[in-house]
Symmetry: C2
Subunit: 233 residues, 2 copies
């Protein structure tokens, strides 16, 4: 297992990292971190979420910004037929005006990250990428069970067991211990295109400013003493 | 974690098990085993494999045989765009006349079972199922890394970490230590509808009898001293 090269600038390495880019703030900053040391391959997953079209646009915009050539957009629309989440089931409302504390919110899509990372691993094995970058955050996160450090440790073990013996792929979670304020500041420091991201769970034209994802994002910018470049209602 | 009830006959329990039913011999016998103790929910996954249509028909036939009401057919066609396997990439030939020994064959679809089980876990969490049955075999199997006992142990750990704390879902692999002969005999013992299954990797009208999957199946019937009820070329 090679360690990341802190001197790297993306043009000196031939190692490839698959970045999961939802199009939100966290994934954009994570891609900016990966770009320091790896050639980038961008993966986006549609899963029948409410703001699917807008998130895909953010993905394409961020990919253009970084000049990413290897891109994969995968559709796991079956998650919508499984249901069980406010993000994929229009019969369940997206909660407003509150960040959930100590419980798993109804926006939790059961086991979603396992699907998304599985796609990344299959793709990485075929294109010969050695790292998978995901912008999960445990601090200031939404309390989803599949965003915790212990979950990713278990997943790295599964990758070891479930791929070819010569395959060496590990999941990297560079912002997992950062609060939203640190994420914003890291993005600014690395020149990440935060103006191209989209975080709102509810709307595609202007951010609602009231869903959990908007509230966490706004908290990050406020605590960093910066203005969010996105339009709000 | 409750243990399986050896006295159960499927009508006395309200516990549900999600069975992964590809439509092949192994998954059919696994469903027959699950039917002894659980109410069945059947999951089938299309992934752009060559014999997709025929396998789906086998799935529907086996579901009808067991009177299964809860069925889910999920499409992970993105595996075809990822490629890397003879099963999903028509540029790679399905090997003939040989069972691979000690190496991973080109029919290996990178990390495929992780995708399929992730769908089962998400669905199980939403419908309240406590078990996932998969007909993986390590003995007389194809040497795929994601069919080994150690892989499923790692996956059970991932499920613990990645689902709601109150969720208790475990993967069951009842035939993992059986040779193909034992699988055939177990199917006969339980009255499994082996005549409704499909195993061939290559053809949909009559089995080719030459691909690895046909060879393993034929070996099982031959060693059990029985005739395979399927039509062969």
């Amino acid at each position: 297992m090679k360690s990341m090269n802190p001197e790297g600038n993306g043009s000196e390495t031939t190692e490839t990292a698959v970045c999961l880019v939802s199009g939100g703030l966290d994934s954009c900053v994570t891609a900016a971190i990966a770009a320091q040391s790896y050639r980038l391959a961008f993966l986006h997953v549609n899963y029948g979420q409410r703001t699917e079209r807008r998130e895909l646009q953010a993905f394409e915009d961020i990919a253009s910004f970084y000049g990413v050539e290897k891109k994969l957009v995968a559709d796991i629309g079956y998650l919508k037929s499984i249901g069980g989440s406010a993000l994929t089931d229009t019969a369940i409302d997206v909660p407003k005006e509150g960040i959930s504390q100590g419980r798993i919110p109804v926006t939790y899509v059961p086991f979603r990250n396992t699907h998304i990372i599985a796609i990344a691993v299959s793709w990485a094995e075929v294109i010969g990428a050695s790292r998978i970058f995901i912008g999960a955050t445990e601090v200031d996160g939404s309390g989803y069970p599949d965003c915790r450090n212990s979950y990713f440790q278990a997943y790295n073990r599964l990758i070891e067991e479930g791929t070819r013996p010569e395959t060496e792929i590990t999941i990297e979670t560079p912002i997992i211990d950062m609060g939203k304020r640190e994420v914003v500041l890291k993005g600014i420091e690395l020149g990440a295109p935060l103006h191209l991201t989209w975080s709102c769970y509810e709307r595609e034209d202007a951010a609602c400013g009231m869903c959990e994802s908007c509230l966490l994002r706004l908290k990050g910018f406020r605590e960093a003493g910066l203005d969010d470049p996105l339009p709000y209602l």
